[in-house]
């Protein structure tokens, strides 16, 4: 490096390793030096062969009113059919799709609906044969079998400072719900005893 750092003068400092060094030390070095060998160059390649044998695809049947972005001219011909909107979260989602993707309301409503959806399902699961189990579903037991402590401490990890929030996000609402339930039970018991 020169006495005057690179950006203050015209010439660029020469690299430590020459092209010959690099070619001999690194497998494949320079194989794609020519942009023409790079598959996504240029970005657009009009008329690229894709395998499609239609101008516009046939339309997949719409088995329930499929929510769609108002920025679409019509319902696209093919779409996913996972988990149709249902319940309160479904109503919020349908409402969210009234706003374009350019509006914060669209995304904030969808995020809110996601939280409602999770609670609708947790509650419903308690009336089912397979209630949600926060221990098995979070996979948290792998902390013991896969070195939870060893992986985190004595390392220089930057994410340990917020990982303590995760159990609160996951467990907090469960603890609150359990607390509320206990409080209600306690009060009803007390009332009964007084009566």
């Amino acid at each position: 490096m020169s006495e005057i750092a690179t950006p203050y003068i015209a010439s660029k400092t020469t690299l430590k390793r020459s092209a010959e060094d690099l070619r001999s030390q690194i497998p494949g070095w320079g194989a794609d030096l020519d942009p023409a060998d790079r598959p996504s160059y240029p970005r657009e390649n009009p008329g690229i062969e894709t395998g499609a044998h239609w101008d516009f695809p046939e339309r997949q049947p719409e088995k329930w009113p499929r929510e769609r972005s108002v920025e679409h001219a019509f319902l696209p011909p093919v779409f996913g059919t996972s988990t149709p909107p249902a319940g309160v979260s479904g109503a919020v989602r349908k409402h969210a799709y009234k706003y374009s993707e350019g509006r914060a309301a669209h995304w904030l409503l969808l995020i809110a609906a996601d939280r409602i959806d999770a609670w609708e399902h947790h509650l419903r699961s308690f009336a089912s044969l397979r209630p949600d189990n926060p221990v098995t579903e979070t996979g948290v037991l792998s902390e013991f079998s896969r070195g939870g402590l060893r992986s985190r401490f004595g390392q220089k990890r930057a994410d340990v400072n917020h990982q303590w929030i995760d159990p609160i996000i996951v467990g907090g609402p469960w603890a609150l719900a359990a607390g509320a339930l206990a409080a209600v039970a306690f009060r009803t018991l007390r009332k009964r005893r007084r009566a």
Partner: protein, 382 residues
């Protein structure tokens, strides 16, 4: 069939589900033999991606065997071994016909800004994914490809997303011979981006992360110089010093929405969902690239706004390039590189998790336990 399903943030389980059906004449049903968990799946798992519904099956990296095909399918038949790009795309819309497969306009009713992705929320089209015994694969004549006889199944599954994405990220950098390339993130995508930068003639490749074991892999697998950002007061200043105060010619963001390194940015996005993503790595990229340089973004961000340092990008005259990867466009050239021995994608696989244990797989990958880099999901009994 058995399938992973999402139960809410940080919670997934395996359930019995109906085998998917042909819903369109060009659909195929694929029996999944190997899948994977991607860094992108963590954004869903943490509840960051709007319209992620309870009951959805994730998984956009999978290979398998064709079980059934729709009446208009010409190129595949039952029994074929196929690899399926993470993009769902039609091959004929304005965007596909120009090679922008990840920006297809015919497959995602829920949003126009993003194409279709298997198992990636309704915002990406509402398709169930491949962390299951079977998956519906639309446009069977367009997306999936036959796995060549010489290719290992584990290499094939990495060709459905992680490798092409890293390779594409290096291309977006428009690297010229001798360029200094900095890659933020030493996950699967960053490792492949660093490796690919050499193919394009980089003179120096530097990888930044905070996980020592991943930086170790960046040195051994991608021949990169590495820095752990937690060891420096300010990684941007350190990178300036490393480049004689010029800045790097090209910087690649292979971190995305859940970047660490700034508590406030991370918590407001990853935990509180007030931002589309935590732009720490992106801002570091903008500040550590040289004026007139290029920032390539393959790290994924949510559709909401993020606190990006746009003024610096403007004042520095940067070129910002980014996209979801059009996977199949990368294949022919990547196949050559693999055959020539330049790349062995499965070198980064660290964990093979049975589908039945996928909840633990998500936790290990999310919390970065047990030196995990790339977890595959394997079919079969627990």
């Amino acid at each position: 069939m058995r399938a992973m399903v999402y139960r809410g943030p940080y919670k997934v389980r395996v359930e019995e589900k109906d085998i998917p059906k042909i819903e369109h004449p060009n659909d195929a049903i694929v029996r999944v033999t190997t899948g994977a968990i991607c860094g992108s799946d963590l954004h869903l798992y943490h509840g960051m991606m709007p319209d992620t519904r309870v009951g959805m099956t994730f998984g956009h990296e999978f290979v398998g065997v064709v079980e059934q095909v729709g009446p208009s399918v010409e190129r595949l038949k039952p029994g074929d071994r196929v690899m399926v790009p993470f993009n769902v795309y039609c091959g004929s819309c304005y965007f596909c016909s120009r090679g922008l497969y990840s920006n297809c306009h015919n497959v995602n009713p829920n949003a126009t800004a993003v194409g279709g992705i298997y198992g990636y929320s309704h915002t990406c089209g509402g398709y169930d994914g491949g962390q299951a015994e079977f998956a519906r694969v639309p446009f069977a004549d367009v997306g999936p490809g036959l796995i060549p006889d010489w290719m290992d199944e584990e290499d094939a599954v990495l060709l459905t997303d992680a490798l092409p994405t890293g390779y594409f990220g290096a291309q977006l950098g428009d690297i010229v011979e001798g360029d200094t390339v900095v890659v933020f993130g030493a996950g699967p995508v960053g490792l492949f981006a660093a490796k690919s930068a050499w193919l394009m003639g980089a003179g120096r490749v530097i990888v930044i992360d905070h996980l020592e074991y991943r930086l170790e892999k960046a040195r051994s697998f991608a021949h990169a110089e590495t820095f752990n950002f937690t060891e420096y007061d300010d990684i941007v200043v350190h990178l300036k010093k490393e480049t004689d105060y010029l800045g790097a010619d090209v910087v690649i963001d292979a971190v995305g929405a859940e970047a660490d390194g700034n508590f406030l940015q991370h918590v407001t996005s990853s935990k509180l969902k007030l931002q589309g993503g935590s732009p720490i790595a992106l801002n570091w990229a903008i500040d550590s690239v040289r004026k007139g340089g290029t920032v390539s973004v393959v790290g994924a961000y949510g559709p909401m706004f993020s606190a990006v340092k746009f003024g610096d990008a403007m004042n520095k005259g940067l070129t910002l390039r980014m996209n979801q990867c059009p996977v199949k466009r990368q294949w022919p050239r990547l196949f050559e590189h693999i055959r020539n021995g330049y790349l062995k994608p499965s070198d980064i696989v660290t964990h093979r998790i049975p589908l039945e244990h996928i909840a633990e797989g998500y936790h290990i990958f999310s919390a970065k336990l047990d030196n995990i880099i790339k977890p595959l999901v394997v079919a079969g009994q627990p």
